[in-house]
Symmetry: C2
Subunit: 426 residues, 2 copies
């Protein structure tokens, strides 16, 4: 990525530290992703997506901003990108999955908040996030205590909009959410100076529905007896969906899906025929965070389903494309996002029934509940999920961890114990 | 408390363990509260309030239930007791402040959630909470991630109602809150079979406003140069307000306030004239939790203000008593509770300005921000509060701790360092 050195310097990044970061991420990516054998050829696009996330993608956004576009930084899949795109903005998810940046956040934020929040803040604070200086607006939400209160502080320092997600799913909550989405539309229109029209909104809805359909299609292949793609690769695809230009992403995924169909026909799979099938459920595993999938798959199992914000929660439920007015379409958008079954809701019964449902659909042998440390909502909800899985005799463990590599050995031991349990019971 | 042994046995408590608990609480109360010299005579009522919290108060509620009353267990000062009382229910706050019960919760709940939640659950799980078996309805709220998700689990096991508190303070949030309060009314009416009338609601509003006025009056004395009551005793008064019958509590506090007025006239104070004046700000310090106040005051300082749910947040803002219909009065109730400046809101600017305001009103020399471990909202908000205090040159420290007594030495060291700083700068 050396050719972007000048760009990074112009953005005010700490170029030396940033270089270290890229090398560390690159080394992890090499060890945890590129080292896999028999990868689909089409994965090159997504390897490039990761590789260019601090380079080409940033340059592309800088060029678009020079032509008048605005960039919006988001931290959650509840932010309706359709509306941002219809107003001519470029939404990019800025969630951090790197461990190196955590200590930079801990200098001024509590240590005992989740690693995702700390990693994200630490990237900005350490001047190693190229998006921080080109972001025209941050959009936070009220999905968890740690993020909600972090926005209070950030919004005093940089342009920031906070989207309130209600905590129940009653009619009055839907009303509040609809109004919040309306306010988000106004905030984005004010930022870009471009009005959201029905035509543009129909286009952006169609574009992001296409992305969802293609991701769902890729995940359909994972339901098959010998999946043509590893869980680690599928994760990389889903992670890059949060960063890469959506139209290009779709073209690339279309190509990959064709190849996967062909591999299915030919019986090509990265897994042994008897590899235990694992679902990872819970917190997102964002770009930079490939450890869990790598540990599971390098232990001889196959991750066949991700029940997370970097998995099913991201691509399930399409936005209804019917409706001709902006208001109707915005309602459709609001309704789609309100269906997401994040643990931030009380109660969240949909998820308690959905996880075992997914376990059956993907024919999984065991579930690994993945909880980021100090994420109270997924951590406590894991108790009910564990109960629901036990009721269906699906083996499961709950792993609570941060991004620290020092836990790798312990995690591997727990995963191997789970796999042994699964293999013995087959 | 031996005479209640049969009652506790009938309630299904673990009588032996319960006896240990009472002795442990009694020992702490002796060491941290009763050991103070020159206490007001009127404190005997509140000592009794603590002493009878597992005895006489429980018996009283059992007797009321035999006559048809229903008991509601609450966990937060956002629950509008006025409405419960108007429907003939007896609301009792069940928040736990004891350390012994924490491990009982940790057996089935995550360790890294706040000690208040764990202590509360642990009391119920260890069969040492006499209210658990006589509670007809639990009322939880969505004020923090840990509680919100805990209710998901409890509500599957015992009758439970969840009150959604919104996360912003816009008009649409107020609308949602008003509707939630309306739903709470219906839930309570259904429980008791008693309709809330304007007359009864006017009565309960007047009763709880009286309690607020008397607490405010007691706290006015703490603003004086030589407060006639220690912060530890004032805390005991506020803690018992959450348990004791409100009318009896008011009578007792009226008597105490008269005595305090007299002590002011006579110049009687438990403090040295030059004792540094401290405000404790942040998380509640509920019954069983007297350590922080004891440490501060046994180090020679005076706690003169509690900016917490067991302090200003409990008694500030009266419910408007005007209005003649149930709907008008319920709106008044909703509006009063919506003014509470809990850190669960985003943003929560009122509190950022209110803490330094209180610091001036109570002429404090320093602020101790008290954060229960893993309470993300107060923990992160502490950063902005610290900034606001620093801007006014008010010395402050933030203490993040659980209920563990093993931290006592460390806490004392930090408090002494703060007091030294304050004394040197005088």
């Amino acid at each position: 990525m050396g050719s972007y050195a000048e760009m990074w310097r112009n953005l005010g990044l700490d170029v030396e530290l940033h270089e270290e970061v890229l090398q560390s991420i690159g080394a992890n990516y090499g060890k945890q992703v590129l080292s896999q054998s028999g990868r689909p050829e089409g994965m090159r696009h997504f390897d490039e997506g990761v590789h260019e996330s601090h380079g080409g993608r940033v340059q592309e956004i800088i060029e678009a901003r020079e032509k008048g576009a605005k960039m919006i930084g988001t931290f959650c899949i509840y932010v309706p990108d359709e509306i941002a795109i219809a107003a001519g903005a470029i939404p990019v998810a800025l969630c951090g999955g790197t461990n190196f940046s955590v200590p930079y956040a801990e200098k001024s934020f509590p240590r005992d908040i989740c690693p995702l929040v700390k990693s994200t803040l630490g990237l900005a604070f350490s001047k190693t996030c190229p998006y921080a200086p080109i972001k025209d607006l941050g959009v936070g939400e009220s999905t968890c205590d740690a993020k909600k209160k972090t926005w209070d502080i950030l919004s005093k320092k940089v342009p920031f909009h906070i989207l309130e997600l209600p905590q129940k799913k009653n009619g009055r909550d839907m009303n509040l959410w609809r109004e919040e989405i309306g306010e988000f539309r106004s905030a984005v229109e004010e930022l870009t100076g471009v009005a959201v029209t029905a035509e543009k909104l129909k286009e952006s809805i169609a574009l992001l529905n296409r992305r969802r359909r293609l991701l769902a299609e890729m995940n359909e292949f994972r339901k098959l007896p010998n999946p043509p793609i590893s869980g680690t690769d599928a994760l990389v695809v889903m992670q890059t969906a949060l960063n890469v230009d959506p139209a290009r992403f779709c073209d690339n995924l279309e190509e990959l899906n064709e190849e996967l169909r062909d591999r299915v026909d030919k019986g090509i799979s990265p897994f042994d025929e008897n590899a235990p099938r694992i679902m990872v459920a819970g917190c997102p595993t964002v770009m930079g965070n490939w450890m869990l999938h790598h540990l599971i798959e390098s232990s001889g199992a196959a991750v066949v389903c991700d029940e997370s914000c970097t998995g099913t929660r991201f691509f399930e439920h399409l936005v209804d494309e019917s409706g001709d007015t902006v208001d109707e379409l915005i309602d459709n958008v609001a309704e789609r996002y309100f269906k997401i079954d994040c643990s931030c809701f009380t109660p969240n019964d949909e998820r308690i029934t959905h996880v075992p449902e997914l376990a059956r659909e993907y024919s999984v042998d065991a579930v690994v509940q993945y909880v980021l440390q100090y994420c109270h909502t997924y951590n406590i909800e894991a108790i009910r999920i564990a109960g629901a899985l036990q009721a269906e005799d699906i083996p499961a463990i709950t792993i609570e961890t941060d991004y620290g590599e020092e836990h790798e050995g312990q995690l591997r031991t727990r995963i191997e114990a789970l796999l042994e349990r699964v293999t013995l019971s087959v």
